[in-house]
């Protein structure tokens, strides 16, 4: 079979040892080819923010304030319109 690459009794940095180690590293750390399914899944995920990103956005207090203010304003407008419609049309029927 093959010979032993490194020996405890040889502590000196030996270029031959390092070259052999480099060869083993090149054989071990090889590029992988992710499956097509995985690539498609990743592509799908790009369309939607993930949980971590949503959490990151929630930490942005300025944006959170704007979103909260926006939602409250829209709700107030809807409530006002609903009250106006109720006042103008439906109130006399009750």
């Amino acid at each position: 079979m093959g010979r032993q690459l490194f020996n405890r009794n040889q502590p000196e940095p030996d270029q031959h040892q390092l070259n052999s180690l480099e060869q083993h590293l090149a054989g071990t750390l090889r590029p992988l080819h992710p499956s097509r399914d995985l690539l498609l899944r990743l592509r799908e995920r790009m369309k939607w923010p993930d949980r971590a990103q949503i959490a990151e956005r929630l930490l942005d207090w300025k944006r959170l304030f704007l979103v909260f203010g926006g939602v409250m304003s829209v709700m107030l407008v809807l409530l006002t319109v609903a009250r106006a419609l109720f006042h103008l049309t439906g109130r006399r029927n009750f």
């Binding site: 490194f6 090889r30 923010p49």
Partner: protein, 190 residues
């Protein structure tokens, strides 16, 4: 299939202006490289998938901030990946989880399964040792061997000079050699 008409500067400019299709071309170009880097740094497919997605989401959200100051776009992406992986390792150490040593050894295309079976134990031992190295050394080895980058390119990603990368690489090889000697592991030549 290679994108023959890919002009990175133009595509980057389009992507910076919010063109999602242009960003998609960048994504297609770099997805495998980033996935490889993240996979070897995390050691499992699930987290590698999750972190790779987050790298590109973050890149998409911040691409307007990217300006070419001598650092290529790929280096910028690797830096994002490097930071996310570092956060991932930090979170795991806080949760006091046992670090994963059982890195699966996946075959590359074109390899014979019998050969992989014979070599997997040796590769597994070497991968375990690599995973015990400090993060910057792991990154260096991955960028050098998996991504086939030069010392200068690695320096751009790691924010070090070419000479510093070369020196770190040599020290990493010596550290690995010493570990192999201490653990009395036989890495046999073919």
């Amino acid at each position: 299939m290679p994108d023959l008409e890919f002009k990175e500067d133009e595509v980057l400019a389009q992507a910076s202006n919010g063109d999602r299709e242009a960003f998609g071309r960048l994504y297609e170009r770099y997805i495998e490289r980033i996935f490889n880097y993240v996979y070897y740094r995390t050691g499992n497919m699930h987290d590698a998938e999750d972190l790779t997605a987050r790298v590109f989401q973050r890149a998409m959200n911040h691409i307007k901030n990217y300006t070419d100051r001598g650092v290529p776009f790929s280096a910028w992406l690797y830096r994002i990946a490097h930071n996310l992986v570092a956060n991932w390792h930090r979170d795991r150490s806080r949760k006091q989880e046992i670090p994963i040593d059982d890195v699966p050894v996946l075959p590359s295309k074109g390899d014979h399964p019998e050969k992989n079976l014979v070599r997997s134990q040796e590769q597994d031992q070497l991968l375990r040792m690599i995973r015990r190295l400090p993060g910057d050394r792991q990154s260096l080895l991955i960028l050098k061997f998996v991504e086939n980058l030069s010392n200068a390119e690695i320096g751009q990603i790691m924010g070090r000079s070419e000479g510093a990368v070369k020196s770190l690489y040599h020290r990493t090889l010596l550290a690995l050699r010493d570990q192999i000697g201490e653990l009395n592991i036989n890495l046999e030549s073919e």
